[in-house]
């Protein structure tokens, strides 16, 4: 307490020292009193502070509140009561808050734990996760999504997943399903094809769910994506397999059945029903089946099945009397399963009707036996070899021809049968030789040299064909020994040379003599003698021509007809032809007119053979022309060829004779003695000659409208005359 000293000083100054002393004593007493009062108040205050601390501790730890002391001072006791009530209220409130706080902490911990777990799940799941807003625009994706699609979050943000992942719209039905799920906020579950960022396709299983907040407000969608390509493919493959199995079972007419021995019941499919002619609806299927199985087979198969153990697979065949198809042969495979102590047995089987297959197989076996017999009795050697050139089969004729027994030649290289000319050049593989020369060797007949076991080399004709069987490529060689044929060819050639000489020599004598007589060397003849001599001369010339044609024919047959192609101009060719044929025309009193357009143009021909062809055409025209008529020879050019046409006004050739005209020995009209001269070989030989000269021959004709025969020769492109030798190789 602070008391101002100014008034006292004024009193002391004005009242005197006593008053001052009295006042000092009073002041001292007051000071002491105040001092006591202050100490008492201070003690109470300390007590209150201590109580307050205790109350605070009690509130904090929940212990009972301390009792407030009664001080006997009304105000203090009142204050203490208020403090005690407030403390109790405060302690209660504090405990409530403390409990609430504790509960909240627990919930936060739990939520945090859940969120951590969810975060881990979302992060570590292999499923792609997309979170989208209510408009379907992407707001978040996880790493698995990026791994699955190749797209990162920043590439997806604000876009609809379909716009990025689907280059082509899904099927309408699927699209509708998705749109409906989104519109109704129900979500959807679909499988569809998506595109990755790298363009590859994958089957995507999408589960899309709507998201709502606590108030039930729709906040967006979450979609879980899963690559199900493998499952989808497996599923499709399985489905295909099942379909194939089903189809195969139908196509193969495979009967499938099961039999329960305990219940004595049988179940089978429609194919089995049809196979046995027992209706699916029959009550006594098993009995009907048993009655129709051949008794011998039923007995043996029953024994087999009874002897079988669980897990065994037993195969057998049985004969069965089909009510409509008669006796059938069924091939059966049965699987045995035993169940339980009483050994109840289940049989599951698959049946195939092999009646036709067995017949076919028998027929094939018979055919193979026949083929084998034919091969063994063939006059030609028939040898087969594998792709390495090792001999696989060797028939009897080959044994005789080559001098090897079949058992000593099988497995050996084909080279042992070939002459050194062939085997030395191709010691490792005759097959490679055949393959390389395939154009000339395979499927063609060629001549070669072979070697017998005794070392003799002999000429062969070889026809090689290539085939493929279950062991791979097989070469089939048919070999004919040409030794005898070569001898005969040589003899024939010598014979023909002899015939040629022996026929021509007397003809030379006859023709020469007649020619001299006709020319009057031995004196003049009368008209009758002249006519007879002329006729004899003509006949001898015809005879000489026939000899020539027959020799040409033989050369054609043996491939030895030779032509020498060279440049010759058309005018010269026609002159030579005219000189050769003119007397023939005169004989028949038929005129010959030759009209060469551009006679200087050169063609490619063997002059002698070309003259032969043209004289043949003209002589035919003359023979069939009316007396005093004219045969015209005209030339035209067409596409690199010069066509020389021989035109007559004869009777023409009926349509039905056209085909036979160029055949050997063909004569159109056998009744006309004049026209029926010659061998009928002229046109056949002419065609061969034109072919060998690179030319063409043909005709147009109609009955009673004359004929035009033509020969076309290639226009020469060579600047210099050249000679090309061609031998007709038949």
């Amino acid at each position: 307490m602070e008391i101002s000293a100014a008034p006292l000083i004024d009193v002391l100054e004005s009242g005197g020292r006593r008053s001052l002393i009295l006042l000092a004593l009073v002041f001292g007493a007051i000071t002491i009193g105040c001092r006591f009062l202050t100490n008492g108040l201070s003690s109470l205050t300390n007590q209150f502070v201590q109580k307050g601390n205790k109350i605070q501790v009690s509130i904090m730890d929940g212990s009972p509140l301390p009792k407030m002391q009664n001080y006997g001072i009304v105000e203090l006791d009142a204050i203490g009561g208020v403090v005690r009530d407030m403390s109790a209220q405060l302690a209660h409130t504090f405990r409530e808050h403390q409990e609430l706080n504790h509960s909240l902490e627990e919930r936060v911990k739990l939520r945090t734990k859940e969120l951590d777990l969810l975060s881990q799940v979302v992060k570590q799941t292999t499923n792609g996760v997309i979170v989208a807003d209510t408009f379907g625009k992407v707001t978040w994706t996880n790493e698995a999504f990026t791994k699955l699609t190749g797209y990162h979050l920043d590439e997806m943000l604000g876009k609809t997943p379909g716009a990025v992942l689907q280059k082509q719209a899904p099927p309408n039905e699927l699209l509708e399903n998705m749109r409906h799920g989104l519109a109704k906020r129900q979500g959807f579950h679909v499988e569809l094809i998506n595109h990755r960022k790298d363009g590859t396709l994958y089957w995507n299983e999408v589960s899309c769910s709507p998201m709502f907040d606590k108030t039930g407000q729709h906040t967006g969608f979450i979609a879980i994506q899963n690559d199900v390509t493998a499952r989808r493919e497996t599923s499709l493959a399985l489905q295909e397999t099942l379909e194939r199995l089903h189809l195969g079972s139908e196509l193969a007419s495979m009967g499938v059945w099961s039999y329960d021995s305990a219940a004595q019941t049988v179940e089978w499919n429609d194919q089995n029903s049809a196979m046995h002619g027992i209706p699916q609806t029959a009550d006594n299927k098993y009995q009907l089946w048993e009655e129709r199985v051949h008794p011998d087979d039923l007995s043996s198969m029953t024994s087999l099945l009874r002897a079988g153990q669980s897990g065994d697979e037993i195969a057998f065949e049985y004969r069965f009397r089909h009510p409509e198809l008669g006796e059938r042969l069924i091939s059966c495979r049965v699987h045995i399963t035993s169940v339980g102590e009483n050994e109840a047995r289940f049989y599951t089987g698959a049946n195939i009707d092999i009646t036709e297959a067995r017949k076919t197989s028998q027929r094939l076996a018979n055919a193979a036996a026949k083929t084998s017999a034919i091969l063994d009795n063939a006059l030609d050697s028939i040898i087969t070899m594998d792709s390495r050139g090792h001999i696989v089969s060797f028939n009897h004729a080959a044994e005789s021809m080559f001098g090897y027994r079949v058992d000593e030649i099988i497995g050996k290289s084909i080279n042992v049968l070939m002459s050194a000319k062939y085997s030395d050049h191709h010691p490792n593989s005759i097959v490679a030789y055949l393959e390389r020369r395939q154009g000339r060797m395979i499927d063609k007949v060629t001549e070669a040299e072979a070697r017998r076991a005794n070392g003799d080399v002999f000429p062969i004709e070889l026809a090689v064909s290539k085939s493929v069987d279950d062991t791979g490529i097989v070469f089939i060689g048919i070999v004919r020994d040409l030794t005898e044929r070569k001898k005969i060819d040589l003899m024939k050639s010598e014979f023909l040379a002899m015939v040629s000489h022996e026929l021509r020599t007397p003809l030379t004598s006859i023709q020469g003599t007649l020619s001299l007589v006709k020319a009057g060397v031995f004196g003049e003849l009368d008209a009758r003698g002249q006519r007879l001599i002329s006729s004899s001369l003509d006949n001898s010339e015809t005879l000489a021509s026939m000899v020539d044609e027959i020799l040409d024919l033989e050369k054609l047959a043996s491939g030895k007809l030779e032509v020498y192609v060279e440049r010759i101009n058309v005018g010269e060719l026609l002159n030579r032809t005219s000189n050769t044929i003119q007397s023939y025309c005169d004989k028949f009193s038929v005129g010959l007119s030759l009209e060469a357009i551009e006679p200087e143009i050169s063609i490619e021909a063997d002059p002698k053979r070309a003259v032969q062809v043209l004289t043949n055409l003209i002589s035919n025209a003359v023979k069939f022309s009316p007396t005093e008529d004219q045969v015209r020879v005209e030339t035209t050019q067409h596409k690199g060829y010069v066509r020389i046409s021989v035109i007559d006004n004869g009777p023409g050739i009926p349509d039905d004779k056209h085909d036979m005209l160029f055949q050997k020995f063909s004569q159109i009209d056998g009744s006309d003695s004049r026209n029926n001269t010659g061998t009928g070989l002229g046109l056949a030989i002419s065609r061969e000659l034109m072919d060998s000269m690179g030319g063409r021959i043909g005709f147009t004709s109609a009955k009673d409208a004359g004929s035009t025969f033509w020969a076309e020769f290639r226009i020469s492109t060579e600047l210099q005359a050249s000679s090309v030798t061609t031998t007709i190789d038949q």
Partner: protein, 131 residues
Amino acid sequence: MTELQRVVFVEDDPDIRELIDIALNTIGGIFAVGFPNGQTAISDAAMHAPQMLLLDVMMPGIDGAETLKGLREQNGFQDVPVIFLTAKVHPSEIQRLRSLGADAVIAKPFDPMMLADELRSVWQEVVKPAI
């Protein structure tokens, strides 16, 4: 240019030999001596100093080719033109005969009325001076 005046021919067939004789001596105005085979021709042809030889190809004993060879070995026959007469008229046969030295090949049957002209034609071709 020297004219063709003397020819030796060899032909085993007597009729044809006679025909050639008539064709050349009587009709053609060429002095021609015929021999029935190669041997006699080889031994006696030189006596006639022929300007040209006409040889049949197919003959018993030695054939035309052998006859030519025998004659060519004699002095004075190395450059004598030779024509073969043959019934074998294959191009290959004609080629073979030309390779033996034939200047021409005449096919049988031949026209005796034209034989001398054919020989003269060959003669002119053979002896004409090189340009």
